[in-house]
Structures are given as structure tokens and as C-alpha cells.
């Protein structure tokens, strides 16, 4: 478990020498506890303190990088079992697989799809992460050719999937300098795979039949000098996969079994549940998810699920305040006020689009709070509305002087009306009722 600041403080020299760069030992202890400083920064630690702090400040799930350049991904470094305890930090990489029996053209088509596909949501670009390359032919040349075909069109992170070290070496000869994940070492050939991982400085995935033998194997690999490891927990049974990934996370963060303190890899093509396997991997601790061709609907859904699960639960996603248009609103179109909590914004926007009434959305800055909480906490108030109307030039956009406010902001209607000098209409509480409301109540 992570030590508390005071527990760490007891192990420090308490000289406040400032040589670590911090003003006092206590502030240094607080940084150590939060993982924001390294124990080595203190020159006066005794051996005992070094051992304890070294073990307790290292992230319980090792941080690994796959790929190089702009699209490289970082995985691991997770601290909790449930996202509500703090947050999940590094979202899983989703890798689309090609194999060495495909033509170069077919491979390139799939790679370009991963390279160029973007889904923009809540102001963020969501993309698939990289390419898995499977050895099916079982010999070095076709594998090297397939890797070459991938490399010819993109600089994406790669997972090289071959159980034969000779085949793996042929692939690494082509792309080994771009830090692909080597997949995978097993108890029978791990020495060979470790040699390759060291030679090319690549992370290494491990496969074994049980969690015990996986822990044992990771011990062997670190003894060989390979520390950037990933644990493969693929199984045709979703039950086995979920139980294994949960066990690995529990053993890692409780530091019960440090040999399991590595990110998890799942090949979702095992068994007949590609979607369900992806879902399980995204929600429950997968970090490298390899899937065969992903249908468009599944691609969108999994990118959005990944974004949802890896959103910091303490930080609501915010929309830039301003005047937004739905359709092509004229000068007599209704104006609806709401807050800049993205969920509120997108929900209302969706229902307004469905209503087919062109209109303006006036979005004010409530620091990402929903209507209900913004009203309760005083973050939504008449001065904010008045200033937003002036700032975004609303009076010049419409010929009328009527503002529709959310149902939950009804207690503010009088004060807003007074502050802005416009007529205020109280809208429905539920965005789902907005079409009916506009139909019945909206007259300029």
C-alpha cells in the first residue's frame, strides 16, 4: 500500500536541508506519497528507509511505453481497483490485428484505417491505438514481410505476435527500433524472448497457464534483466479472463504479489465474444487489447466506452461557454440557456436537434457543474447570465427578447429577468421534454 505522508516523514532525516529541492522534509514526504518525487532526491536516506520507500513509492502497476513518436502509448501506472477511488490513468491501447497470410494491400488498408480514423466527441479526438501483427504462416519471411507492409504506411505502436523466437527476431529486424510489444514469452522459450527484448529495448508480454506460473515467469524475466513486462490473460472464457484480470489488479495494488504488478494484455479474438471481451478488457483492467477487424459500430462504441471509463471521476468534462447554434436559427429563433457541463450540453443539444426547431444555446460557465448543482451552489446566477448575453452579442443575433431557462433554474427566473431586462420562460426540467415545450410555448 502507498504510505501516508506522516509515515514517510518518520523515515526522512528531518533536517530540512532543501537539497532535494523541497523547502522541508514534510513537503518532500507529501510529494513522495503522491508519487510526485523520487526517494533518490534525498542524499541522506539510510538503507532501511531506501528499501521501504523504494518499494512503496514505485507504482504498483509498472508503467510501460509501446511505440515511438506522436502515437506512442503509455500503459500501467494504475493505483486503484475502482475508478471512483481516484481515477484510472492510462487508457488501454486498442490494437487491430493483421496477419502474415494477408496480402500487403489488405494489410495496408487496415493500417490506414487505424492511422486515419478519428471519432471526435466532447471536443476530444478518439482513435484506435495501433496494429497487432500475427504470425500464422509460422516462418520468419512472411512475418517480416507483414511487418514491413505495416511499417510502409504508418508509424503506429505495434504488437508482434509470434511464439517462435526465430519468427519474432525476423519481425524485430524490421521494426525493433520502434519499441513494439513482443508477444509473447512462455515458460518454454522465455530466455530467447528475453534476449530479444534486451537487444531491442522492447517491452515483453508473458503467457502461462496459471497466475502462479505467470508470476513465476515474470520473476524469471526480471532476473534475465527484462523489467518492462505485460501479462497476457487471454482466454476463450470471459469468466476466466475477468477473474484473472481482477486477481492481478488486486494482487498488484495491495502489493501482495509484486510479480503480478504489470499491465494486462488481452487478445479478444479468443472465443466467440469479441465485443464482450473488449468491454471486459476496457472496464476491468486491460491495457493492451488486440482485436481482429472491428465493425464500425463496435469501433465507435468501444472508443466512447474507453473515454467514459478513463474520465477522471472528480473532474466533469466541460464545454467552452458561448453561443451555439442548432440548425440554422433565424432572428426569431428561441434561445435556451444552460450550463457548460458537457453531459448537460450534449443531452440538450441532442433533444433540440431531434425537435427540428432551429435555435440558439447560450452556454454559461458554471465550471462544469450541472444545472441542479450550479443553482444549489450559487455558480449559476443572474450576473453570469447578463454578462454572457453581452459577451456573446446575443442582442444582435435575435430580434426578440425572450430567454428560456432550465426547469431546475426556476428559482432564479425573477432575478434573471430583472438583471437582463428580457422576458424569461422557465423550460422543462428534463431535456427530453424540450420538443413538446417548444411546440406549445414558443412564440416570439
Amino acid at each position: 500500500m502507498t504510505l501516508k505522508p506522516l509515515e514517510i516523514y518518520k523515515l526522512l532525516p528531518k533536517k530540512n536541508c532543501k537539497e532535494c529541492g523541497d523547502p522541508t522534509c514534510l513537503t518532500f514526504a507529501m510529494k513522495l506519497s503522491g508519487g510526485k518525487a523520487k526517494p533518490e532526491a534525498c542524499p541522506y536516506l539510510d538503507e532501511n528507509a531506501k528499501t521501504i520507500l523504494g518499494a512503496s513509492t514505485r507504482p504498483p502497476v509498472r508503467k510501460i511505453r509501446i511505440g515511438v513518436g506522436e502515437r506512442a502509448i503509455t500503459i500501467g501506472e494504475e493505483l486503484v481497483q475502482f475508478r471512483h477511488e481516484k481515477s484510472f490513468f492510462h487508457e488501454p491501447g486498442i490494437f487491430i490485428a493483421v496477419n502474415d497470410t494477408m496480402t500487403a494491400e489488405a494489410i495496408q488498408e487496415r493500417v490506414i484505417f487505424v492511422r486515419d480514423g478519428i471519432l471526435t466527441r466532447v471536443g476530444t479526438d478518439l482513435r484506435l491505438s495501433g496494429i497487432g501483427i500475427r504470425s500464422l504462416a509460422g516462418s520468419p519471411e512472411p512475418f517480416a514481410r507483414a511487418v514491413g507492409a505495416v511499417e510502409s504506411v504508418a508509424d503506429l505502436p505495434e504488437v508482434l505476435m509470434a511464439g517462435d523466437p526465430a519468427v519474432m527476431e525476423a519481425g524485430l529486424f524490421v521494426c525493433g527500433n520502434y519499441r513494439p510489444l513482443i508477444h509473447a514469452a512462455s515458460p518454454s522459450q522465455y530466455r530467447e524472448m528475453c534476449r530479444l527484448a534486451k537487444k531491442y529495448g522492447c517491452p515483453l508480454a508473458l503467457k502461462a497457464d496459471t497466475l502462479d506460473s505467470l508470476a513465476e515467469l515474470s520473476g524469471h524475466c526480471t532476473a534475465e534483466g527484462v523489467e518492462n513486462l505485460v501479462l497476457d490473460l487471454s482466454s476463450p472464457s470471459l469468466h476466466a479472463m475477468l477473474n484473472a484480470s481482477t486477481a492481478v489488479r488486486q494482487h498488484a495494488i495491495s502489493r501482495t504479489t509484486p510479480a503480478l504488478g504489470y499491465p494486462v494484455c488481452i487478445d479478444t479474438s479468443r472465443g466467440g465474444h469479441a465485443d464482450a471481451s473488449l468491454i471486459t478488457g476496457v472496464t476491468k483492467f486491460g491495457s493492451v487489447l488486440v482485436c481482429d477487424d472491428l465493425p464500425e459500430a463496435s469501433r465507435k462504441a468501444v472508443l466512447v466506452l474507453r473515454q467514459n471509463i478513463y474520465t477522471d471521476p472528480q473532474k466533469p468534462i466541460q464545454i467552452t461557454p458561448g453561443l451555439y447554434r442548432v440548425g440554422t436559427p433565424g432572428r426569431d429563433a428561441p434561445v435556451l440557456l444552460t450550463v457548460n457541463f458537457s453531459l448537460t450540453f450534449f443531452t440538450l443539444q441532442g433533444y433540440l436537434e431531434a425537435s427540428r426547431v432551429p435555435c440558439f444555446m447560450l452556454i454559461v460557465d458554471t465550471e462544469g457543474l450541472s444545472v441542479l448543482t450550479a443553482v444549489a451552489s450559487g455558480k449559476l446566477h443572474e450576473a453570469l447570465v447578463r454578462d454572457a448575453i453581452a459577451k456573446y452579442g446575443l442582442a444582435g443575433e435575435v430580434s426578440h427578447r425572450t430567454l428560456i431557462i432550465p426547469g431546475y433554474a426556476a428559482p432564479l427566473s425573477g432575478r434573471i429577468e430583472e438583471a437582463i431586462g428580457w422576458k424569461v420562460l422557465v423550460g422543462p426540467r428534463d431535456a427530453a421534454d424540450i420538443a413538446e415545450f417548444l411546440e406549445k410555448e414558443w412564440k416570439t
Partner: protein
């Protein structure tokens, strides 16, 4: 994988809730379903504790107030609620039917006797256990829930939906006619707990409450619902008996989100199904015992994924 296993140090247990009554119990259902009973996280353990999550198919007595993506696929069956239910049971084999009385949403609705007839005809048309959603207007709640309760007497239905501001009519109908209640709170563990306490104070036993923490659609707040479900399950397993009721989750807005509305041609069906699967399967992983969908093609995929998560059954036999 064998050997090292999950670490469980739970003391609590989720209560059990029964839906449906067989002939022997005074009802007419071919089978009854049990939910809850877990002593660990969802699907965890060599043999997971408690009961497997179930899939409910949602339909509406007035299809004009139902998402187009759901009714389009079913076609003409939607014009007769009983036919719709019977067809869905036979073609798509959900575990339960959830009937939304959308006719009560019309302004000035007063025809409660028609609700009674609808429920009786649906009960005759399907042998599956039933969930019924009544009105959402306090002014008519009392009459509507009284009628639902009466029409389904003896069938031990799950009756929705109680909220903090309006729960008495639902609870009264459930107690008078032997049904259970869905208790919905707005994505907030404390409000969920508070409502359970309020319901208990009306005299409704804990084993007749299902928690609905409200589920935002995928991409539209789903993560808040996902975490509230995890927190509720966690607190219950830690021993909080006021939260130890099974949960129900519905992808209510999935079929009206922008992604589904804007998808063209056959992509529309696929996106609708993906949006339901990618929110309802995670809901079971977070702790929901009943997940509800509106697109009939979502049912088979969800049931087979739940089977594989539950006992490792591998449909493809790989």
C-alpha cells in the same frame, strides 16, 4: 486460470428478490426469476455467488412515445401490446418483459381501465415474469398504480418507479397486491440509500426493492452511473444493508442518442445494438442484476456474453 485467485474480504450479502409467481404460488408464470444473493463482486469466484444477471426487453403500450429505432425493427407487432410481448418472447427469448405504460404520459390521461385491460392481456400473452412502469405524474400516480397493482394481483410483478418525491402510491400498490418496487435515484449513492429507508418506513420489506441508480447513455454520462453502481455494490458487500438490494439498469436513452439517430441504413441497427451492449454489459460488470434493452437484436448478444462471464461457457467451443 488456476492458482492465485481474487482477494475477497467481504462481509455483506446482496438480498434476494423474486419476480413472478408460478401456478403453485397463485400466479400464472411458467417460471419465476430470482436476482441478487451475491457475496462478492459481479462474476467473481470459481462459481459466482448469487444469481446470474438477467436481460429484460422493454416495450410500450403507446408506441408513438417509443424510440423509432426500437419500433422500426419490430414492425406491425407494436400496435397490439400483447402481440408485441408474445412475439418478443418467442423470437428473442428475453428473461423478462418490461412494459412501459407510455399512454399515461399524454396530457389529460384518465383511462385507467384501459391500463388494466392492457396488463391483463400482456399477462395472458406471455409467461415471462413482468416489470411494469406506470405514470410519472404525481397527480395521476395513485389511480394508475392502484390499477396496475390490481390487474397484476398474484403475479408478483416488479413495479416502477418510485422516486424520492413520489414513492407512496407505488409502495402502497405494491404492498396491497404483493408486488415489488423499483426505487430510482439520480446517480447518487446517498440518495439511493435515503429512498430505500423511506420505502422501508412505509412498511415495504427490503427484499421487495430493486435499486435503479439511473443509467446515462454511453457517451452521455454512462461513467457516472457505472461508478455509482460499483459504489453501491461495494458498500453493500462491506455490510451496508440499506444498499444491499439488487440493482436494475436500463439503457433508457441509448436509442435516441445522436450516434444512433445519425447512423445511415443498416448501420443504424448495428449502432443501436452496439450502444445497448456497450452500456448494459458494463452495467452487469458494475453490479446490475437486471439490464434492460429496447432493440430486440441486443438480447441474444447480451445473454450469451453474460453466460460466458458467469460460468465460462464458450459458445464457439474454441
Amino acid at each position: 486460470m488456476m492458482g492465485l485467485s481474487t482477494l475477497s474480504e467481504w462481509t455483506g450479502r446482496i438480498g434476494e428478490l423474486v419476480i413472478g409467481a408460478s401456478h403453485a404460488e397463485g400466479g400464472t408464470r411458467s417460471h419465476v426469476v430470482r436476482i441478487g444473493g451475491e457475496r462478492d463482486l459481479p462474476y467473481i469466484g470459481t462459481h459466482p455467488s448469487g444469481h446470474k444477471p438477467l436481460v429484460a426487453y422493454e416495450l410500450a403500450d403507446d408506441p408513438s412515445l417509443w424510440p423509432a429505432a426500437a419500433t422500426r425493427y419490430i414492425g406491425d407487432w407494436v400496435h397490439d401490446t400483447a402481440d408485441w410481448a408474445a412475439y418478443a418472447e418467442k423470437e428473442y427469448t428475453p428473461d423478462l418483459i418490461r412494459l412501459h405504460l407510455t399512454s399515461t404520459r399524454h396530457r389529460g390521461f384518465s383511462d385507467t381501465s384501459r391500463i388494466g385491460t392492457t396488463i391483463e392481456s400482456v399477462l395472458q400473452a406471455t409467461r415471462l415474469p413482468l416489470i411494469v412502469e406506470g405514470s410519472d405524474d404525481p397527480a395521476m400516480d395513485s389511480a394508475v398504480y392502484q390499477k396496475i397493482g390490481e390487474a397484476a394481483e398474484g403475479e408478483r410483478i416488479l413495479l416502477g418507479t418510485a422516486e424520492a418525491g413520489r414513492y407512496r402510491s407505488v409502495a402502497a400498490a405494491a404492498m396491497a397486491y404483493g408486488h415489488s418496487v423499483i426505487a430510482q435515484s439520480p446517480i447518487d449513492i446517498n440518495l439511493a440509500k435515503q429512498l430505500n429507508i423511506l420505502l422501508r418506513e412505509t412498511g415495504l420489506p427490503s427484499d421487495r426493492i430493486a435499486i435503479d441508480p439511473y443509467t446515462g447513455a454511453l457517451g452521455y454520462g454512462f461513467e457516472y452511473s457505472y461508478s455509482v453502481m460499483e459504489r453501491i455494490r461495494y458498500s453493500a458487500l462491506k455490510g451496508d444493508t440499506d444498499l444491499a438490494m439488487p440493482m436494475i439498469s436500463s439503457a433508457t436513452d441509448s436509442l435516441t442518442v445522436k450516434e444512433v439517430r445519425e447512423a445511415q441504413g443498416s448501420e443504424a441497427e448495428k449502432t443501436a445494438v452496439a450502444w445497448e451492449l456497450y452500456s448494459m454489459l458494463p452495467a452487469t460488470i458494475a453490479g446490475a442484476s437486471i439490464v434492460c434493452v429496447r432493440h430486440p437484436l441486443s438480447i441474444a448478444g447480451l445473454k450469451s456474453a453474460i453466460d460466458s462471464l458467469w460460468n465460462g461457457e464458450n459458445v464457439e467451443g474454441v
